[in-house]
Symmetry: C2
């Protein structure tokens, strides 16, 4: 593509480096910003600078945070002995939005995936082991995606923590609430039968 | 959504103001930037600042430009008497990429669309009239989208230029090169029959 403007071209180059955004979409976004006036570009730019300069990872749980200790780890009202292992901040946001979890988190920053060149050392697994070093009756709840990578990562941590006084659990897998049985895949359906629960429990919201 | 970080939330707010980008996508893009390190956020931010501060519209054709007169209007090798009327810079890029057009452009900055509250005064139609004031044998080529808005905008300009020495033409409409007849809509097919061309011409690339 030939642009009449080098400045526009540079912006399109930068925007199109984002995942899932090609050059045509990048141009559309840049033109939208131009049409909205310089203030909107400057506001977005300021937010990006602040993110680059000030954002850090919580020293305890590795979640993205504005402060050295994130607001969840700093909250004395949350259960110190229940730690939920998640892939990234999106999972923290999803779980927090349920309002059902009162423990703390450990954010791995990814999943073990040899195909993508991600090994255990690139994740915060060592920090997790360190965090659980002196544990007494802690519960570690794995809330990772139901994928090969999620399963292998959980299993790797499970093996690593053998012999430590940590009870390990995983979120249940089964038919989604509101789902029709006929549309569920066989593996999910088989698991939901194998891990069946007392009927009274299934009535609880 | 509840974020552990106000800084991240602000960036997600700004990114999700872009068209077609919801909060979940905005969060995914922000996390990608965080993972890539502060340099990529800063580079994008700089490009946006430069765009906000330095980008202008060409004084002649209203196209987006780094200079007062854009590189196309400043090029003495291009035909001064053939002006192509387009909606925005994306159309200029599309036409330039064909390598077939050696005239100049006039960028309207939109199309007349009462439903979106866009009237003729918000476009650069008056500049176009001014530009053609002393014209002698100019050709004005309408290359607007084949939509109601495109047609009405062309017709509005056509009426406005009545009595001026300007020949007005429009890009041809018909079956796209490589298209199957059976998949063309009736209106397009009907037009391509009505505006049929000598067979020898149809062989030219």
């Amino acid at each position: 593509m030939e642009y009449a403007s080098k400045i526009l071209e540079k912006t399109v180059d930068e925007i199109s480096m984002l995942p899932g955004i090609g050059r045509k979409t990048a141009l559309r976004l840049a033109l939208h910003l131009i049409r909205r006036g310089p203030e909107s570009s400057l506001r977005l730019s300021e937010a990006l600078v602040e993110m680059a300069d000030k954002l850090m990872h919580c020293r305890i749980c590795s979640n993205i945070s504005d402060t050295e200790i994130c607001s969840i780890c700093a909250n004395p009202g949350r259960d110190d002995r229940l730690i939920c292992v998640v892939e990234d901040i999106r999972d923290v946001i999803a779980i927090e939005s349920t309002g059902q979890f009162k423990g703390r988190y450990h954010v791995l920053g990814g999943l073990i995936s040899p195909l993508d060149g991600i090994g255990p050392s690139q994740l915060t697994i060592d920090d997790l082991v360190e965090r659980l070093k002196d544990s007494e009756g802690h519960e570690l709840l794995f809330a990772l995606g139901a994928t090969v990578e999620g399963d292998s990562t959980a299993f790797f941590i499970f093996r690593k923590l053998q012999g430590m006084k940590v009870r390990m659990t995983a979120i249940s897998r089964g038919i989604g609430v509101g789902d029709q049985l006929e549309y569920a895949d066989e593996v999910t359906l088989a698991r939901s039968i194998k891990h069946r629960i007392p009927f009274e429990d299934s009535l609880k919201r």
